[in-house]
Amino acid sequence: MNFKDVVAHLKERHSDAIEGTDETKRDPWIVVKKDKLVELCKTLRDDPKLDYDHLSLISAVDYPPATIEIVYHLDSLRLNHPLVLKVKLPRATPKIPSLVTVWPTADWHERESYDLMGIEFEGHPNLTRILCAEDWVGFPLRKDYKWPEEYHGVPCGPFAGKDVNIPPEWEQEGFTTRKA
């Protein structure tokens, strides 16, 4: 099934779940309503014509000031017709139902999105930080993220534009890097 057939097939079942589609892009995508996501995904998984049994990736993309997009990359191991789902969330309160019940592999992916982007997945059994430390402050992949000066006494932050790449003993001597 190509993209159009998938969309047509889905519209038969869930006409109200699909907000829109974009076929002009390299990977055409479907924009799904947040409330209908789980139902739609169950259809995607269970319908023998669709058979999307492989959740490849969950990623969150931050589009300040208003939205955060959650992108689901799906694939079928048997039928080989990849699909992209998108859900748009308000940036202030990014909440979305969890897909752990549909694809258990969503577990760590959702934790990662929570960890780095601050998305709250409702119904996730164990929504804790996974890659960052448990007491880390902020969500690093947001575009407006401010790097902390230090973490438990260890200086951290991006190197560009700062003098971090100077050994501490030099700074005492008043030596700093000058960037062109």
């Binding site: 390299r26 993309v61 191991l77 990849p82 258990p104 890659l131």
Partner: protein, 408 residues
């Protein structure tokens, strides 16, 4: 392996909490597994990751498209070439350069992809032997991997983090003379595969240690998004090289150079069976191991086929694919605005995907990597329940994680 109920009735036992890692010889890096044990039996093993997190995705947002390539090396550092190629293909898909890439470049990339797969599987097989206590196969595998690293070193100048493949071609021109050496390696390697099988794969103790351990049913493998040898070990014939061909694999598939599906018929050459056996049936540690061992032979054949194709190229084709289609001065190229692409390939560890989003600037707006080890490791809790502590090591080894990729 259920715990006998009588034991609990008669003797009062206590659970034992064991913290395995992040410094442990067999967790393949800095994985930490909190194990709840009853004597030698594992009741629950919970993996904790993140000790090697260095925010690859944030770094990628602050560098140009080309500058991300060295960062991808550090993801799966045992298969850096595959990471480079996959990222490069993702960027090329984003830019719409697929048609511009010369044929020679594609052939060489396929060749390098498979050579890297051999190198990575050698590491995997060797360290798996080490995990179950056999030290010699480890060094034998490293001996052959050393030859491969020499080849990579002469091609790219580095032994581990090559960053050789960049969007548009290569960082340096492909040295044609190296073809001869690669061919020599392939011939030399053929006998070695037999040796690994004699020494490790079919060793009775090794089989006893790994069979029926960490059994991953096909249903579980699908649900947990396991890919690569994990999935094929459970009997699901899924290989992106076969199912959604990229690079040169479409051609190779049609030519019958490699087969993924189990044919079932007996072929006179036993090595042909090896190629077919890249599909396990049981989903236990041994199946997963054997998928990798069989892929050594499979990859070797693909490399030889690629070399034959390289020899057949005309001179003009050879010249066209020597370097990079992008001039160095234009290295800060931009992608179309609002465009995004997801490209996935069959890494040695499974399905590696890069999701790249552009906002029309020379820097990536968002790069997200789908790391196979990250997904495969999730299932550890499920498949290690009821195993013994020694089995837990075998299971972790058979998942074949690279923490650089899990933690990114």
């Amino acid at each position: 392996m259920a715990i006998p109920q009588e034991l609990h009735r008669d003797v009062r036992t206590e659970e034992f909490l064991l913290n395995m890692g992040p410094q442990h010889p067999s967790t393949h890096g800095v994985l930490r597994v909190v194990v709840r044990t009853d004597g030698e039996l594992v009741l629950e093993a919970t993996p904790h990751v993140g000790y090697l997190h260095r925010c690859f995705e944030k770094c990628a947002e602050n560098t140009t498209w080309k500058q991300v390539v060295p960062y991808t090396d550090r993801m799966d550092y045992l298969a850096a070439m595959c990471n480079n190629i996959t990222y490069t293909l993702a960027v090329e898909k984003l830019m719409g350069w697929e048609k511009l890439i010369p044929r020679k470049t594609t052939i060489v990339r396929t060749l390098l992809f498979e050579l890297q797969r051999i190198a990575s599987h050698l590491m995997s097989i060797g360290t798996y032997g080490l995990d179950v206590g056999a030290i010699t196969p480890f060094l034998h595998c490293f001996r052959e991997r050393e030859r491969l690293l020499e080849i990579f070193e002469e091609v790219s100048g580095q032994r581990l983090n090559y960053s050789y493949i960049t969007p548009g071609g290569f960082q340096y021109p492909w040295p044609d003379a190296i073809n001869r050496k690669i061919k020599g390696f392939c011939e030399y390697f053929e006998e070695r595969i037999t040796e690994y099988n004699d020494l490790l794969s079919y060793n009775g103790i090794f089989i006893e240690r790994t069979k029926s351990i960490g059994v991953l049913s096909p249903q579980q493998a699908r649900a947990y998004g396991c890919t690569g040898p994990m999935l094929r070990g459970s009997g699901i014939a899924r290989d992106l090289r076969w199912d959604q061909p990229y690079l040169l694999y479409d051609e190779l598939k049609k030519e019958g150079v490699f087969r993924v599906r189990y044919q079932g018929d007996k072929t006179p050459d036993p090595r042909d069976q090896m190629v077919d056996w890249s599909l396990g049936e049981l989903g236990d540690c041994w199946s997963r191991y054997m998928v990798r061992a069989a892929e050594l032979e499979q990859s070797r054949r693909i490399v030889l086929a690629c070399l034959a194709k390289l020899d057949k190229l005309t001179d003009s084709e050879k010249e066209a694919g020597a370097g990079n289609i992008i001039k160095e001065a234009d290295r800060a190229y931009t992608a179309p605005k609002g465009e995004e692409a997801y490209f996935k390939s069959e890494n040695p560890r499974g399905e590696l995907g890069y999701y790249v989003v552009s906002d029309g600037k020379p820097k990536a707006y968002r790069v997200k990597a789908r790391a196979p080890s990250f997904n495969n490791l999730q299932v550890l809790t499920e498949i290690s329940r009821g195993a013994m502590v020694a089995d837990l090591i075998a299971i972790i080894g058979s998942i074949d994680i690279v923490l650089g990729e899990v933690d990114r």
